[in-house]
Amino acid sequence: MSEGAKHHHEHEAEHIRHYTKIYVILLVLFLVSVAGPVVGGLVGSKALVLITAFGIALVKAYLVCAHFMHLNIEKRYIGYLLGTTLVFMFLFFAGVSPDVMEHRGRNWENVAAKQETARAIAEHAAHGDGEHGGGAHHE
């Protein structure tokens, strides 16, 4: 095998090793994201549940975007393009969430949402299952 061919072969093997390494890391993170909330539930730690479920989801998404979609070596304006759409998503959340997450404000009250929440919680307490007869949509 010539020196050039050998170098090319090594270069290829290095790429494959890199992709395999990222895949293994993703699998390990996946296992942690499944086990973490279980442990968090057992010890009663909400922070552990949130970090292992959503924190790890962010890390996994970053690894896929950077190393599998090659955003780390893509033209920078592609990152700006995607980032802009994410900003729109956060703007949407910031603008709408107070009306959805709160059931009353200074001059308004979401009676239907309050009633549905109260009904569902009472039903769950009574049956140990919040699903029986729960057909009504709130709001």
Partner: protein
């Protein structure tokens, strides 16, 4: 036959076909982002969602996460083979990725059948409406991706249009990323 302009033109410093895929994904971020943001605000504003979410099957969601992560690995291997000009190998990895898509859909069908039999339908309440809408929209993307991948694999086998392997790969990884967020939202946060 003349090549399509998306293949030969790169006025924006990247091939136009790849730029088009990024544009599609940017619009997908808004679609899925809006849906997930709506779900999160409802989840936080309605504590009863936690009780409803207790009925989703975490094991099945976890298996599907594993399947999609693995198929993403297959897709990146297909891209690598296409970059080396080995169309046949690229097609093989693409077929393996399609296998992942089919496995995902079979598992999802089993899961939905079971849930519908239990009475958890899309009209049951707001949680299940979100659940079926988000997972259903995602499943539609899986189906679409698998069909496009099969078409691209047919060409790749003949060493034709290998640049398309990268394009479908980028799309497929995005489908994986969406599931990475759907999994904790619908199956873990109970």
């Amino acid at each position: 036959m003349a090549k399509p302009i998306a293949t030969t033109r790169s006025a924006t410093t990247i091939p136009t076909g790849r730029l088009a895929v990024w544009w599609v994904l940017a619009s997908e971020v808004v679609i899925f982002g809006g849906l997930l943001a709506s779900y999160i605000m409802h989840r936080l504003g309605h504590p009863e969602f936690g009780d409803y979410a207790a009925h989703t099957n975490t094991a099945i969601g976890a298996i599907n996460t594993f399947v999609l992560l693995t198929s993403s690995y297959f897709a990146v291997r297909a891209h690598f083979e296409a970059e080396q000009g080995r169309g046949k190998n690229a097609a093989k990895w693409l077929y393996a990725t399609i296998g992942g898509a089919l496995a995902f859909l079979c598992i999802k069908s089993y899961e939905w059948t079971h849930e519908i039999q239990e009475g958890f339908t899309i009209t049951r309440n707001a949680f299940w409406s979100f659940y079926y809408t988000a997972a259903g929209l995602h499943a539609c993307h899986v189906i679409g991706g698998a069909i496009i991948m099969a078409i691209i694999a047919q060409d790749a086998k003949k060493n034709l249009e290998l640049q398309r392997v990268e394009l479908i790969g980028i799309y497929w990884h995005f489908v994986d990323v969406v599931w990475i967020f759907l999994f904790p939202l619908l199956y873990i946060a109970k």
